[in-house]
Amino acid sequence: MKLTDSEKAMLDGTEGKACQKAMELLVRYGEALGADRFIETTNIAGVPGSSNPFLQNYYKDAGGGYDAIFSLFDLDSDEVIEVPQIKTNGCHLQGGYDPENWETLGAKPEAARISRESEEFIADHGVKILKTCTPYLAGNVPVMGEHCAWMESSAVVYCNSVLGARTNTEGRESTSAAMLTGVIPDWGFHRDDYRYGTHRIDVDVEVASVMDWGMLGYFTGDAVQEHIPVITGNHDEPDLIRYKHFGAAAASSGGVEMYHIAGVTPEAESLEAAFGPNQPVEVFRYGEEERRRVYDELNSVGDNEDVDFVMLGCPHYSLEQIEEACRLIGDRKISDNCRLWIFTSRAVKMLADQKKYTQIIREAGGVLLTDTCSAISQSIPPGTRVAALDSAKQTHYLPAFMGIEAWFGTTKECIDAAVGARWNGERP
């Protein structure tokens, strides 16, 4: 790789040992990719310093502290270095525990303590504790063309496609190193020629609701895998929530990191502009039959209609979605035979507290949680057998992780299931 003078200085250790180790890792990574240079970035979203009992135990001999975990794991260094303040706008994405309600999640005190300590450590080193998979709903909204280094597939696809900012799907080690150095390999989605569409999805059925967009996303990811779809045809214009569910679904059934919606998203002024010099490699039609097939696939892990768990907030709910959940609950109560967990970010929860939504949910028998979700924390209420979910992404992961059944439907169907402890979803 060709390095600038300041990058060489970091690699030579002029900026300190931690920066040197970070740069060494980034050079190994850049060379593995086949990148020939770095690009500067100050917007970094990762999971620095996250720990678990395995890592704590593994690094016990190295002191076991957070300097050790950050050096040996995050930077993949062979020696423990004192970690300096980060020099970028770095934030921490979702974690594994709600700091207030970890007992509800069934976490052990030891794991909750480790989580709290690692958070204190990285906060002391300048990392913003957003603790969400939706940083763009919690104060980190990159601008068009901004180079970022983000983890979290649903956030990456939102960043590239909806905001027109530029990021690859980074990993824990690359984001932690970038927080110290302010550079990331100039490869993939940082480059113009990589961002054009490759496959076309012709929508030929009504796509209007959040659930519709989730299903279209799930179809699209499965169809194009890790390529770049261009959506065109008969659909309503999506809003933030619909983009969020569409992208998260496409990044779960496939590896979509960027998509275009012709005439809608910022780098797709027209269908032609979205493809640039490319010709569509393949064209897929999404009609009534395909929509039903996706619905059936998502609901193939449901059999028992007695629902005992409803989980909402994948990706983390926005304030409007929490408001909608409250409206749908109305003056009803959650069934004694069912639990309702709704996940959001700390920033949004603070607003929900002010609007008394947190209280409304609690009084109805549910709970508003932060930082994590059932799939990430691998926690469900004890004895759960059948879940109801309004997220295609969560439906993709949760039943597989936890060995439970799951139904996928609208938010209203999920709330009704929580009230009646019964699934009454309607097949489109």
């Binding site: 990574y29 794991f73 993949d76 799907t169 990993g171 824990r172």
Partner: protein
């Protein structure tokens, strides 16, 4: 051993490609035509693939030369493979087809020799059980076909 099979055993296929991670290692191949998920797809404590419906489900890549089309799924890919290295369950070497940030970073932190951009499709040339030497430093993969 008959002369024929002795000859066959000696037959070596050589592929050329690009180094992803330096080093040289050899071992038994574990080949899949399906992309691999890290987080949620692999248990790093024993190196087994756990993804529902994956053709390698229940099989461990520990000490194998893992040959796969590429990485998919969560951005936790590298961290899971990194933990596999710490737990001693990582592959001995890796060969993959599609370059992505997940696969590149994962290969880097596994620290085992890794290669891509081979001059023939490794998924069709290499079969599970073949003896494979990955000489990433020289950009060479040597394959000795399994004797059935």
């Amino acid at each position: 051993m008959s002369t024929d099979s002795a000859l066959q055993a000696e037959q070596k296929i050589v592929l050329h490609g690009r180094k992803v991670v330096a080093g040289c290692a050899e071992g038994e191949a574990l080949v899949t035509s399906e992309t691999i998920s890290g987080w949620g797809g692999v248990n790093p404590m024993d190196g087994t693939v756990i993804e529902t419906r994956h053709e390698l489900r229940g099989t461990s890549f520990k000490d194998k030369v893992l040959v796969f089309p590429g990485a998919k799924g969560s951005s936790g890919w590298s961290a899971i493979f990194h933990m596999a290295r710490l737990a001693g369950t990582a592959p001995k070497a890796m060969i993959f087809v599609e370059m992505t940030t997940k696969a590149a970073l994962g290969a880097v932190v596994v620290r085992a020799p890794a290669m891509t951009d081979l001059d023939q499709d490794p998924i069709s040339v290499i079969e599970t059980g073949d003896w494979v030497k990955v000489d990433a430093d020289n950009g060479i993969v040597e394959i000795i076909k399994r004797k059935d």
